[in-house]
Every structure is written in C-alpha cells, then in structure tokens.
C-alpha cells in the first residue's frame, strides 16, 4: 500500500517537474529577429586525437560558456550574431575563433598540449571561470599528468593514493586503498572505471590500486553534490576514465619500476576514425622474496597483474562506439596455502547524437569481483573457498541542450546483482570437511533521473534534479526473522524469480551558484543519496575477503543527507584556485557490526548487523595551482565524524575510526628546468580513534584486556613526507623515444607511523604486559624508468 502510494507520489512529482521545465524552456524570449542557433562540436588533443573531458568554451560577449562532457562533446545555444570563442584546457595552448553565427554551427577543435610546444616549458593560463560560475561544488578533478607528478610508494603511480591527498578524503589505514570521504565509510564510495563498478580497487592488500596509470585519462571525485545521474552510494563518486587510444599515430609508453613493469600501446585502427589502447602491468615482488634469508619467505609466490583494453569506432558524425575492459588478478601462494582475488569489468557504449541538441549514451556493463582462498591438496585440512560479486548493468543517459538557459539531463539504469558470499569445501579424497555454501543473494537495483542546469541570470546558476531509485530482492532466498535481541526466531522461503521485498527512494539533488564578481562565487547544495548494497567488513584496512550484501527485509537502505556551502575564488595574478567549503552530513540507517561479529561464511550474517546513525561535519580549504613552474595544491580539512548505534558502546555516541579532526596535504611539483622536475608531498592527520584497554584479567595463563569506551584513545598523529626527482632525456629532432628517470623516496624522514598498537604479554612471564606498535614502511626509495615512443 505504502509503496504504491510512494510510487504515485513520485510519478506526480516527476510529471510536475517535467512540465515546469518545459514551461520554463518554452517561455524564453525567442523572436523571429533573435533566433536560437546551436554551436556544438568535440574538443580533442591535437597529438593523439583523444577527447578532452571538461575542456572549456568561453563565449564573448555572453561572458558565459560551457564545458565538454565525458565524451569531449559540447553544445550551446546562442542567438545569431558575432562571437569570439576561446577554447581552453589545463596544460594546453588556448585557441581563439571568431564566428558570425547565422546558422547552426559545428566547430571541432584540436588543442595542442604544452608538452608539444617547442621552446616553451609551461603555458600560463587563466584559471577557468567555469569553476566559479557552475552550479557544481564539492568536486575535484585530477588529470593523470598531475597524478604522475606525485611521489608514490615504490614509484607506483597510484590514482587512489592521489585522491587520498584531496581535502575531505582520509585513507582508512596506512598504505591502504580504502578511503573515507567526508566521514563516510569506505563502502560508500562508488568507484567506476569507464562506468563499470569496481568492487575492490586494491592490489596487494591495498598497497597499490587496480588503476594502471598508463591506461587512465583522469578521474573526477564527487564528495557531495553528487549529480543525479549517479546513484547507489552515499559518500562519493570516483569516476575514472580510461584512455581511448591515439587515433592519429601508433605510439606507446611504459615503465620499468622497482616492483613492476608496464607497457601501453595505442594507435589508430582507421586514422582519425577509430583507435585502440592496450595496457598491461605485472609486479615482480616475488623476485625480492627470493633474496630473503628466510627459506619460508623464499618459497612464496606473490604478484599481481592487470590488463586494460579499449577500442572506439567513430561510425559517422552522430555515432560512436566504445568497448573497454579491465582484468586484474592478485596471486599469493606457497605449498601451504593460496589466496587470490581479482576484478573484471567490461563496458560497451554507444554515443548517439539525435541532433545537435540531444546527446545520448547507451551502456552495457559487466563487473565482477571474486576471490579464492585455500589450503592445497596434500596438506592437512585441505580446503578451497570461493566467493564472488557480479553485476550486469544496462543504462542510458541523455543530455538535452534545451535552451540558452537550460541543459536537461535524464536517464534510466538497471543493475542485476548476484552475490555469492562464499562456498567452502574440503579437497582430496580423504577430506573431513563437508561442503558449506552460503545462499546466493540476488537483487535488482534500478534508477531514473531528471535534472536541469538552469541559468536564472548572469549571476545565478541553479541545478536541480531528482533521482528515483528502487531495489527489488529476488528469490530464491531464505529470509530469517530476528527478534529484538537479534536471535533467530523464524524463516521464510521464496522461490526462484519471486520478488519478496522492495525498497524505493526519492533523491532530490539541488545546488546553486551565485557569482559575486568575475573571480568569485558562493555556492550551496543539498543532496540526498540512498545506498542499497553494503560491505560487511569491520576492519579498517580491509582484506580482499569482501562480502557485499543488499538491503533486505532485515536491512533498511542507508540514506544520506548532505548540506554544503562554499566560497570559490580565483586569484588570477597567481593562477590560484581557492575554495572554502563547509558540510554537514547525516547518515540514517547507518550499518555497523556487533562486537566480535562473525562476517565470514555465516549464513545468519544479518543477525550480526546493528543499525543507528552516523553524522559528520567539517570545513575544507583548498589552494590549487594547475599551471606554472610551481604547481600543486595545499589543503587543510577540519572535520568530525561520529556514530551512534544502540547496541554498540552502550548506545553512546563515539567517534568513527576515521574521525581525524585535522588533516593537511601539501602536494607540490616544481619544474626546475625543461629536463628536471622535483616533486614532494607532505601529509599530516590527527591519529585515528582507537580503543585501548583500561584494565585486564587472567583466565588460565592468558591475560585478557578490559575496555571502556569505544574509540576513546588516539593513535599518535600521522605525518609523512615523500619526495621525487624526475630527469628527462634530451629531446632530439627525429627521435621518437623519450625516456625519463624517476627517483623517489616514500616516507623520506623515516617517520614511524603506527599502523596498529597491540597489547601483548611477555612469552616467559604472561603477567608482564606491554604495548607494541607495528609500523609498515620505513623510508622506501625507488627508481623507475618511464618511456614514451
């Protein structure tokens, strides 16, 4: 009944909104003398033919403009007349066009990157005014070029580690790939690689991420004000795009590093029409194990590899097809046990221009994460354990450049989730183990959305939209009923294909930007997000042994409300972009786990969940310089994050583990000369909140700690400096090969940052107890040779 009511309510709201938009669109002042015309086109890199995402078109005398979408396409409506157009993109030389608009016009622009300009080290550019006037806040964009300049652990350029340096983002554990955005849990980040969900972005316990920098074009991180086209996660969207491949000429790049080697090749299939990109990476950490004096360590196999592939075909002016895929695997094994995990994604996309004003994209996406663990046959208690999470998604997105003051976006998506939380069985003929299989979990997650970028006046930009989302739990399933003490009291069985539970969510997303002057603006946003699938993990660093579960009769969807307010200013003389943002975020139905929860291979896992609320608030200050010899950013975040769950900490609020009030990141790159550049980053964060014992008792000869309040202690503050020097080879005319040496040091002043503090007993006298810290990385120097041809 209630759901029916909500559905009707939603439909009426949608119809109302649509008619409002159509009305506002129609009500504009078009007259026979002042006719609307369309200016559109693609903006590309002149060297590679690669489309540029977020490139700016500045239109005078309108003192406004537009930016390209994720496919490099732009479209804007103008009255007939004379205009000066400025096409620009960070790190590229600007181009100017003067046009007399008499009819609809298509202008494709190829921008020349600063690297290709002879005799010039850097291009000094204006800071984009688009950043000031657009009704979009809480977003950070990183180009792969700037990510490459950040010194990295063992020289492995890592997109996730770069994201962790942005304001409002916290690594959940040293060296890990997990991160918390504005106090959210790591499972509240929607990590997309060419639109495909990446369930677990980590390699080698998270020390490295699955994103091979050679295959990546760039990333956008939405920390709040998440556009309605994205759904399903509360805290953030990490939208990673792969390179499309050079459509002009065959080329490649790669590197030989301390722990891995990489190679990427790209080239045209048909010049200027289609191209491909193939990239691979493999580590050889196991070679270092061979140097160990310990025989047991020597006999281990430990490596990971990944492949990225992409191809695109331009069928005609209106149709373009993209195919992309990722395949990665981690392997750790020896004679006694084995552990492996990996992600596989595949995306097929079709860009279609219905006309110059209606841009569309249709996608089919497959995504899978799986792991296996076991003791090989022949060993005592040999077993094999496998688990997987699988998604198939179909979606379509439309952008309608409806009028001078309106851009409408709308679309639908549906994802079929199949989670296999675990199957364990003994192996060998003499096995003592029964097969144990956790029931599969199937659900359908759907969403439709509509939004409008609405220019109210030259100063005021509004973006409003609504997303309607729904989750259907689909049989076959056994659903257990739990009483208020989380004891199992009943169960119900549902047949194959039966929809036994439905949740719906209305997600309004509103933001506005008010331009104060040419250089500054204030912005505000309110967004609601609903999350239907969650990760059962209560450790901070996280292992590959992920178990995702969907909302169900026992688990309500998580809902998040976020309010943000910000001041944005460009300081033109210094090419500085600055921003100050404040946020308050409330997470309803936050999920936590009972004390000593059993999350692995537990058929009754829903009885281990506890529910409550989580909230966080904070201020983020950012100074960023994208151009010039000295570039990079300085950010400071002050924030707090709390949770309150009835069954945990006696129902009293406690700080979340990743509540780290003060957080500073300084990321700098200095071009010393054309051939030498220096990089450094320094991070500082208040130690994470931890629980320490306040007493102890003894059972047998075992000392057992007694705890008081959860997370009432702090680890020592975290800080670390990484540095790097890059030396480029001399450029010689006619030589295609370009090489560079990169020398870096992670944790340059050898700070011992505790990863964990354990309380231990002395072996020969258990009554004597002591605290012991474990730290991961002392100073880690590395050398990488990178090349391009």
């Amino acid at each position: 009944m209630l759901q029916e009511y909500i559905r009707k309510l939603f439909l009426s709201a949608l119809i109302l909104l649509l008619s409002l938009m159509v009305l506002t669109v129609k009500a504009s002042d078009e007259t026979p003398e002042r006719k609307y015309l369309t200016l559109n086109g693609f903006i590309r890199d002149a060297g590679s033919g690669e489309t540029l995402i977020g490139a700016t078109v500045y239109i005078e005398p309108t003192s406004g403009g537009t930016i390209t979408n994720t496919y490099g396409y732009y479209s804007v409506r103008l009255y007939s007349g004379l205009y000066t157009l400025t096409y620009s993109y960070v790190g590229y030389e600007k181009q100017y066009r003067t046009i007399n608009m008499l009819r609809d016009t298509t202008i494709n622009v190829d921008l020349v990157s600063a690297e290709q300009l002879l005799g010039e080290v850097v291009v000094k550019g204006e800071a984009a005014t688009e950043r000031i006037s657009k009704a979009q806040m809480s977003v950070n964009k990183l180009e792969i070029k700037s990510i490459r300049q950040i010194p990295a652990l063992m020289g492995e350029v890592d997109l996730i580690k770069a994201i962790q340096l942005l304001p409002g983002v916290q690594a959940t554990a040293e060296g890990g790939s997990g991160f918390s955005v504005r106090g959210g849990s790591p499972d509240q980040n929607l990590i997309l690689l060419d639109e495909a969900l990446v369930y677990n972005p980590s390699h080698l316990m998270g020390f490295f991420s699955v994103f091979n920098n050679d295959a990546i074009k760039g990333v956008e991180l939405y920390k709040g004000d998440i556009p309605p086209m994205y759904g399903g996660r509360l805290s953030s969207v990490v939208d990673v795009r792969m390179n499309e491949g050079n459509s002009k000429k065959f080329s490649g790049q790669g590197g030989i590093g301390t722990i891995s080697s990489r190679l990427m090749i790209e080239g045209p299939i048909q010049k200027d029409r289609s191209s491909f990109m193939l990239a691979g990476r493999r580590t050889y950490a196991d070679l270092f194990l061979a140097l160990s004096s310990d025989e047991q360590i020597r006999e281990n196999t430990l490596y990971f590899y990944d492949f990225n592939g992409k191809a695109n075909y331009t069928l005609d002016d209106k149709n373009r097809i993209f195919l992309s895929g990722y395949f990665g695997q981690d392997v750790f094994s020896n004679d006694f046990f084995g552990l492996g995990w990996g992600n596989q994604t595949f995306t097929a996309r079709w860009n279609h221009l219905f006309n110059n004003l209606l841009f569309s994209n249709f996608s089919l996406i497959y995504s899978r994460f799986n792991y296996n663990l076991g003791v090989p046959e022949g060993q005592p208690n040999a077993f094999d354990w496998t688990a997987s999470m699988k998604d198939v998604t179909a979606k379509s997105d439309f952008t309608w450049f409806a009028g001078i003051n309106h851009t409408l976006r709308f679309g639908v998506s549906g994802t079929w989730h199949v989670f296999s939380p675990g199957k364990a069985k003994g192996i060998g003929s003499e096995t003592v183990f029964n097969e144990l299989e956790m029931p599969k979990n199937r659900s359908l997650e759907t969403g439709i959305y509509l939004s409008n970028d609405h220019k109210i006046s030259e100063r005021l930009m509004l973006k409003y939209g609504l997303r309607f989302s729904m989750l259907n739990n689909v049989g076959k399933a056994t659903v257990y009923t739990f009483d208020e003490d989380f004891k199992r009291v009943d169960s119900a069985n549902y047949g194959t294909g039966k929809i036994y539970n439905t949740y719906t969510g209305l997600e309004p997303r509103i933001s506005l930007a008010y331009t104060l002057d040419e250089f500054s603006s204030v912005k505000a946003a309110y967004t609601r997000n609903v999350q239907y699938i969650h990760l059962a993990q209560n450790s901070t660093a996280g292992t590959p042994l992920d178990i995702w579960f969907s909302s169900s009769p026992n688990v309500k969807p998580q809902k998040g409300d976020q309010f943000s307010l910000g001041y944005f200013r460009n300081i033109r003389e210094a090419s500085l972009e600055t921003s100050l943002e404040g946020f308050y975020k409330l997470n309803h139905n936050a999920i936590d786990f009972k004390d000593h929860a059993e999350l692995l291979l537990n058929e009754y896992i829903e009885g281990e969940f506890r529910f409550g609320k989580a909230w966080s608030y904070g201020l983020e200050l950012l100074f960023k310089r994208s151009e010039g010899r000295l570039n990079g950013w300085v950010s400071y975040t002050w924030s707090r994050t709390f949770r309150q769950i009835d069954a945990i900490n006696n129902g009293i609020k406690y700080p979340a583990t990743y509540d780290r009030p003060h957080d500073v990141s300084i990321v700098l790159n200095y071009e010393l000369s054309k051939r030498v550049s220096l990089g450094a980053n320094w991070v500082y964060a208040t130690g994470s909140a931890v629980t320490f014992p306040t007493g102890r008792f003894k059972i047998g000869n075992t000392i057992v700690p007694v705890y008081s309040d959860r997370n009432s202690y702090r680890l020592p503050d975290y800080h670390r400096l990484d540095v790097s020097v890059t030396l480029r080879s001399k450029e010689k005319p006619g030589r295609k090969w370009q090489g560079e040496w990169n020398f870096s040091a992670y944790n340059a002043y050898n700070r011992k940052n505790p990863w964990v503090i354990n309380f231990q007993s002395e072996l020969d006298n258990p009554d004597v107890t002591y605290a012991e810290m474990t730290y991961l990385f002392a100073i880690v120097p590395s050398i990488t040779y990178n090349f391009k041809f």
Binding site: L436, L601, P693, F697, G700, P705
Partner: protein, 285 residues
C-alpha cells in the same frame, strides 16, 4: 572456525612481509575493579575448581589479586554443596575429589564475597553440561618438517546434532594448552555427523614431544556460550591487525551482576598415545 582462522593466518603472514614492530609507552586510564570467575565442572571424577580474582590496571605486571574467604555454592538442581577454599587464602574453591558432572545437568554457581567489588557482593552463574555423546576412536601424530611442528590428528565420530568442542593436549602430566592461543574450540559445521577422519585439532612444537612421552588429547563438549566466550578470549588476547580485526570489544561472560570470566560445564573424553619407537618412526620425524 578452522577455515576462517586459516584465512587469518594467511593475512597475518602477508602483512608480516611489510611490517616492523617496536615497543612503545602508552598511558592508559584506569578502569573500576570487577570480580573475575574462572570455574569448570567436567564429567571427570576429580576436585573441580573455581578461581576468584579481580581485574587490575592493564600494566599491573603481577598475578591478579585473589578473592579469598568467599562462600561458594555449587547447585546441580538436586544437591547444593559448598566449595572449600583450598588452600585457605588462595582464592581457589574446590569440590570434593570424588565429584563428577553429569551431561544434561544444569549447574548453578553462587558466590558471596566479604568485601563488595563494584558495589556487589553476590554473584551467580549457570551452565548446562552438553549431552553430546563423546568417544574418540584414536589419535595420531604427524611431523611437519618445514615449520618444525607436530600435528595432532583426531579420529572420532561426530553426532548429527550441532556440537561445540574444546580441545586440550597434555604431554605426560603437563597441560600444553594452558593459554587461549594453544587450546582450540570449534563448531562441527564442517564435519557434522561425520567421522573427523584425521582432522588436525592441535599443534605441538618440535621439542614438546620425545620418544617415550605420553600424549593425551582431551575432547570436551561445550556449550555455544562457552564456545563464543573462548573465541573472543583468543581474539582479544591475540595479535590484532587493521587488515582483519574488528574493533576491540569486551569478552562476554556468563557471570551475572557484573562479573567477568566464565563458569563452564563440559563433558570430557580423552585418548592417550604413547610415543613408542614405532610411533616415532611413523610420524615422519
């Protein structure tokens, strides 16, 4: 559970490849004092013991203070007996030496103490000895040269009911499994109703077994509550790592009125293996 603990071992080994440890000084707040009860009634005929101590601050460095001169009763539903503090002042209260527990019986413990602890001077606890029919066919030893350890293997038939077990090992008269990390508890999910068929249930160090020794395996059937208590004891006293450990939390207890520890009733079977020259040769040592 075996499989999950193997997973944990694998992850510890992986993280050990990258980490270093170092002792540090940390100041800890003090908690209020609580009573700690450690009592076990088994199906063996012996003097069963209940030990009363108190909590201390974490870096206390000595044996915990005992709670002496308490009045402790054990009630099996038919008969309520007082346990004697032997020796006086030791905080250890014992049944007569001819006492034995009977499977299926609910045991209740009542403790009156002289000086209140945490405003309480009366504590109770109860536990029912599981009815699991226990019998061990045999045990064997196998030597593992790489890690220089002995596997103790169990051959026994598990009944079709859901059962929980504790496994202890004695070499000659010495109880090897006197710490939480050396004793094992397990449920029967992976072998329910089957013969355990040589399941490795305990591990001994190289030098703990020699020719001529008597190795005794004690198999106790325990309640689910005790199984959870002991799992938590292992978790909280063991090494924790951000990779797999959840947030630390207090070990549950079945002592009412704010006590800590556990009062357990468990049925017990045992099997002995004398390490003769022939056995020694067959182990692969």
């Amino acid at each position: 559970m075996k499989t999950t603990s193997t997973a944990v071992v694998i992850l510890i080994l992986m993280s050990a490849l990258f980490s270093c440890t170092e002792r540090i000084d940390i100041e800890l707040k003090e908690n209020f004092r609580r009573i700690v009860v450690e009592g076990t009634i088994t199906s063996d005929t012996t003097a069963h013991r209940v030990r009363l101590t108190t909590t201390t601050n974490y870096f206390y460095g000595e044996e915990p203070p005992v709670v002496a001169e308490a009045i402790v009763y054990l009630d099996n539903g038919n008969q309520k007996i007082q346990l004697d503090e032997t020796p006086v002042g030791s905080g250890v209260y014992q049944t007569p030496a001819d006492y034995y527990g009977i499977p299926g019986t609910a045991y209740q413990l009542e403790i009156n103490i002289k000086e209140p602890i945490g405003d309480q001077d009366f504590f109770t606890a109860s536990n029912t000895m599981p009815e699991t029919a226990l019998s061990i066919d045999s045990i064997s030893l196998e030597y593992e040269p790489t890690f220089e350890i002995w596997f103790v293997k169990l051959y026994a038939l598990d009944p079709p009911t859901t059962d929980f077990y504790r496994i202890d090992v004695q070499v000659n008269d010495l109880l090897i499994s006197d710490t939480a990390s050396r004793a094992q508890v397990t449920d029967d999910r992976f072998f329910n109703g089957n013969n355990t068929n040589g399941l490795t249930v305990s591990i001994l160090r190289k030098d703990e077994v020699n020719v001529g020794d008597t190795v005794t395996l004690l198999l106790s059937s325990i309640t689910e509550d005790y199984y959870r208590f002991f799992m938590q004891l292992q978790m909280e006293s063991g090494f924790s790592s951000p990779l797999f450990s959840g947030p630390p939390a207090n070990v549950t207890s079945n002592i009412k009125e704010g006590g800590l520890g556990f009062f357990a009733a468990m049925g017990r079977a045992r099997k002995t293996l004398i390490v003769t020259d022939e056995v020694w040769t067959n182990t692969g040592r």
